[in-house]
Every structure is written in C-alpha cells, then in structure tokens.
Amino acid sequence: MALPPNVSERDFNRALEQFSNIVGSEWVFSSDEDVALYRDAYSIYWGEPEERVASGAVAPDTVEQVQAVVRAANEFRIPLYPISTGRNLAYGGSAPAYSGSVVLDLKRMNRVLEVNERNAYALVEPGVSYFDLYNHIEERNLNVWIDPPDPGWGSVIGNALDGGGGWTAYPYRDHFGAHCGMEVVLGDGDIVRTGMGALPNGSTWQENKWGYGPWVDGLFRQGNMGVVTKMGFWLMPKPEAYISGTATVPDDEGAVGLMDTLNLLENTGIVNGSTQLGGGGAGGAGFGGGGWSLQVPIYGPANVIRAQLDYCRQKFEAIEGCTFTEEPLVRIPLSPEDRARVRLVNFGIPNLSTFSMLGRSPFQPNPAGGHIGFSPIVPRRGEDLVRFRNWYQANAAEVSGGENLGIIGPVFMTNWERSLVGLIMFPISKDPEHNSKIRDAFVRWVELAAAEGWAEYRAPTVYQDLIASTYDYNDNALTRMREKIKDAVDPNGIISAGRYGVWPRHLRDA
C-alpha cells in the first residue's frame, strides 16, 4: 500500500477508517488493484517512477459526506485530489497532480438536480456525464441542447472546471463561461454558494452569474481552492436549423482578410457556430496546401440563418481571391440520413467516436492512442496565424532532434472566440524511450513559445508548473496572489496540491 507523503501508516489507516465511517467501507479504496484504476491512462511517464499515482480513493455520495471527508483529511493532513469522472484524458485523467494524494472520487454524486426548459439551464452534480445529461433531456423531450466535448463520457462539471470546450454555439461551447452559480466545499470543510446562490430562498441562482460583490467563481476554474459539488449551466434552446459555408483564400495574404472577416462576423453575432480553419500548410490539414479554408456554421431559424449566410458570403467574397461555398441546410431534429453523416457533437449529441478515429490516417492507420497537447493562445489575426505556422515549421526539426517523433502541428483551433489556439499534438505510448524524447520536445516548445509571447491555456498535470512559470509577469505576481488565497481558504493545503501550479505553503517551502 502506498502512503501519502509525510503521513505515517498509522495515521493513514486511521484516516481510511474515518473515511469508511463517513461513506461506508465499500466506497474506500486502498488495495493496489483498486488504486490502479486511478492511473492516468495517457501518462507521459507511464510505468516510470515519476508517474503521478494515488495512494487511495474515497467516493462520497452527498455534499455532507464531502464536507466530512475534507474535515477528516484535515485532521490527518491527507492530501485529497477531487475528480468528477476522471476522464480528462491528456490532462492527467484521474491521477493526482501530487503523487500520493487520495482521490476524492465524486462519480457517485451523479444527480441531475434540475433542467429548466423555460429558462434554459441545468443544475448538476459532479458525477453527471454528458451522456447522463443528454439522456435526462431526451427522455423528457425537453427543448434544450447540451454542448458535449469530444469525447462525451466525461463530467459536465469536470470539463468546465478544467477549461474544456465543445462544438455547438457560443457562449455554450465555452463550458466554464456558460456556467452560472456553484456550490463549493472549501479546504476547511466550510460550504459556500456563489452568485445568487448566497441569497437564502432565492430562485435566480442559475439565472444571474454575478450576484453581489467580488466574483469568486474563477478561483475554482483549474483551481484547488475547494471541491465543487454543484454547478449550474446555461443551455441552448434547440435550434430550428443549421447551415454552414466555407470560405477559401489562395494564399497567406488572404489569411489576413479571412481572420478579420471572421472576427467581424463573430463579434457581431452573425456566426455563432464553432468555426473550423484548415490549410495554409499547417499540420492539421496536411503540409501540402498553400491556401486557407474556413468553415463558418450558424444555428437558428432556417430563414434567418440563410440570410446570415448570405451576409457571410458577401463579406468573404470581398476578400481578393476568396471563394465561398455553401453546404445544405440541416433541419433539427436530425433525419436518420443527416445523423449518419454529420459530426454529432456539433448537434449536441455526445459520443465516443474520437477514440476510434483520433490520429488515424492513411499514413498512420494504427495510431498509438495516447497523446498530450500544447495549445498556446495566439492572436486572431492572419499575420499571427502565418507567423505561428512559420515559427513551428522553422523549429520542428531541431525540437525533435532530427527524428520523426510523430508530433503533429500546428492545428489551428478557432472554436474559442477572440483568439486562436495553435495546437501541437504529441503522441505517447508505453515506450519510455520515445516518451522521454516527447517530454524533451514538449518542454522545448513551451520555452520557444513563451519567448514569442504565446502560452498554454490548459495543461497535463505533469506540466502545470512549467506552464505556470511562463506566466511570470512582475516576479510571478499572479501565482503569488493565488498562493495567498490558497493559504487562506485551505490552510492545511488539503485540496489538489500543485494543481495548475498552485502549491500550499508547506509544499512550497519543502
């Protein structure tokens, strides 16, 4: 049996006994066989001493049990690592950021507490997956959509808290941005409700994000200030139809107009779907092409979105050399024929198809499966798009030591509004030698990007310190402020030590 760091076997056993008293012994896990279930399936240190592993797990069923577990953990100084469903693969999965932590597994808290069709919101517990929420809505034939990521087996709350996103309309596909109100058990076992949830007997918890006074919800995004036990989300009323068009420019010069026009169309609300950028010789679309293409999807009433797409055509065709093609309008609910051909996540339907397709190509018919990504945020301007691609191509050979490590990049993501993501994908396997080279390459890309003013928005646990160190304005003032807050709300440093580069006092000094 592994032990949490700096905890005696006697104290650990007493803590496990207390956990058992709180949740029932069948929901406390400490055998090697059970703890192994919490390994990170995509660990870049798979099977190596540095792999982040848990010492045990405890699975409460209620918020009162969460509070009691947190208080018991405080008594014995047991580090806890809360997970919702633990499926954020490529970002650490269910394995803790701080090896030896006890996983606080919230899967049993899987109740859909409310779906309000009239005001289009949901209130859920952490163990509710996108499949669960989708099924709940479909079984009741409610007129709202969820926004699932790809894949959809993860937790609605977990994905939002990790900074995840989806593929339908804005603002719903920004999962943290679309949340409204949360309930949190702090590191000392106290419980708070944010926004309008702090108003006893109020009924607008899921209708107004801000409430009164300083807004604290952001502390729990990629945070370790507490355990989120409920969270509200705004949902999109089911749209009547979907339409999309694709603008294509022949060269890098055209990319400037392409991005400026996209920004205009999104910032004025004409385009609301998750756009897709390809070409330009970027890795995501093959290295051959010289031109750029941009798909712009729109959700809404059929006659309205046809007019919006006409406006898009008019704007894009004003760019020199740009052509614009339209795809057929898709009615919702989907016909069986449409369902078989569309990308389901764009229509609010969760699925797992990404596992059987990701990385598969004529050149790689049998992808390794494991991967991590480096996803720096890049200004959404054509000049910066081209600059990032050229920077990647100029450095790729040197970073990989002249070898083909299977790294793919850059894949430009336009699904976040206002900025681009220049994704670089790193394949990982169970081969320590290859993984070691990938680790070297990852670190090098982070350093090179930081020198250009580009940094990651979300990271695997093993690189959260590294990425945090690039946000070092004024002698790491932002990290220092977070540490002060951490010390105040979690004085014993119980919750998710080290998550996103925020360490409790006793581990900072160690």
Partner: protein, 198 residues
C-alpha cells in the same frame, strides 16, 4: 435509437435472465449463451469470430467503424446497470479501452487479453497477454486461419480455463510503441466477482 452506421445488431436472443457469475464460469455451451460478444466488422477474422459465436448462441454485437457509442448507450450500459453480463470481443484496441473504462464503474474487469498480429506472410502471430492458460497460443497457431473460431470456442464455452486472476487495468489506452503494427485484440470483460470463482 441505434444507427446503422455504428451498430450491426446480429444478436441471437437469449432465453431467461443472466446467470450468476459463478454459474457462467461453470463452462459449457450454455455459458456461451450467457456471454455477450462484440466484433469489429472491418476485419475478416473478427467476422469469423462472430460467426462461431452466433453458432454457439451467444448474443452478438458488431461495430462497423470501431465506435461503440450506440452499443454502449443502448445495450451495455443498460445491461451492466442490472446484472452485468460478461462480454467477449475481437476488436481493435480502442474498443477494449473504452469498454474497460466504462466497465470500471459497473464493477467490471478484464479477465483475458490476447493480441493477434498479421505476420506479413498470410498468417498470424498470437500473444497471450493475460490468461491463466498461455498454452492457448499453441492452439491458435495450430488452428492456422481457423484461429478466430478456435478462439471463440475457448472464450465462450470455457472462459474459466482462460481467465486470469490478474484484473488490474490493462493500459489499453495506449499502444506499446507509436509505430506498433495493426493488431486485433481479444478479451473478456466480466464482473469482478467472477474472480471469486476462479
């Protein structure tokens, strides 16, 4: 509603309710009828596995593209919420990974795993990764091109003889190497309580 794209429902209906795990592992043709089977329609060998499984009256499910979403949503997740039915398969690696992960929360574990790789000369090599009976490798080799049927016989009618006591996670999320050749994976996923009967 399952779609044609991802679901080939070629099931043979089974009579009665599932047996307790210990009974399932008693080993017989009857056992086969109490085990679900998943095959990957893209592979000839998996289709041969399916054919033999159907002859043994096992309920058979297929995937056309490796995506198990519809099967999970409409069959396995429903069945596993009640009395989890053991499932045997011949698929690509991702299907094993997905079902193993999804099965954890229903108390399901992988009791058998083998890998099957074309040898480039029309034959196959077999690696028994997790089994109490490594000699199965020789049986599969001796069967030549009929190995999928022999495998189905072993996994479906005598699962207790091939199941391992090792039920730790298989790590099927990732290949052993990034340039690993295409392989088929055979496996048995069953309720953890089965271990008590081995």
């Amino acid at each position: 509603m399952p779609s044609r794209r991802t679901l080939l429902q070629t099931a043979v209906a089974i009579a009665g309710s599932p047996l307790a795990p210990g009974v399932i592992y008693a080993g017989s043709a009857r056992a086969a009828a109490q085990m679900g089977v998943l095959y990957d329609h893209r592979h000839r060998e998996a289709r041969a596995f399916r054919l033999r499984a159907a002859q043994l009256n096992a309920p058979v499910h297929g995937t056309e593209d490796g995506d198990i979403t519809d099967l999970w949503q409409h069959y396995f997740s429903v069945a596993w919420k009640g009395e989890p039915m053991p499932l045997a398969g011949l698929t690509e690696r991702p299907a094993l990974f997905m079902l193993e992960q999804l099965g954890f929360q229903h108390g399901m574990r992988v009791f058998f795993q083998a890998e099957h790789e074309p040898d480039g000369q029309g034959g196959w090599t077999h690696t028994i990764v997790r089994s109490s009976r490594p000699a199965l490798k020789g049986q599969l080799e001796a069967a030549g091109s009929d190995w999928p049927a022999v495998l189905a016989d072993q996994l479906l009618t005598a699962p207790q003889t091939v199941a391992s006591k090792d039920i730790t996670p298989t790590g099927a999320a990732m290949a052993a190497r990034i340039d690993e050749p295409a392989r088929l994976y055979s496996w048995i996923i069953a309720p953890r309580s089965v271990a008590n009967h081995l």
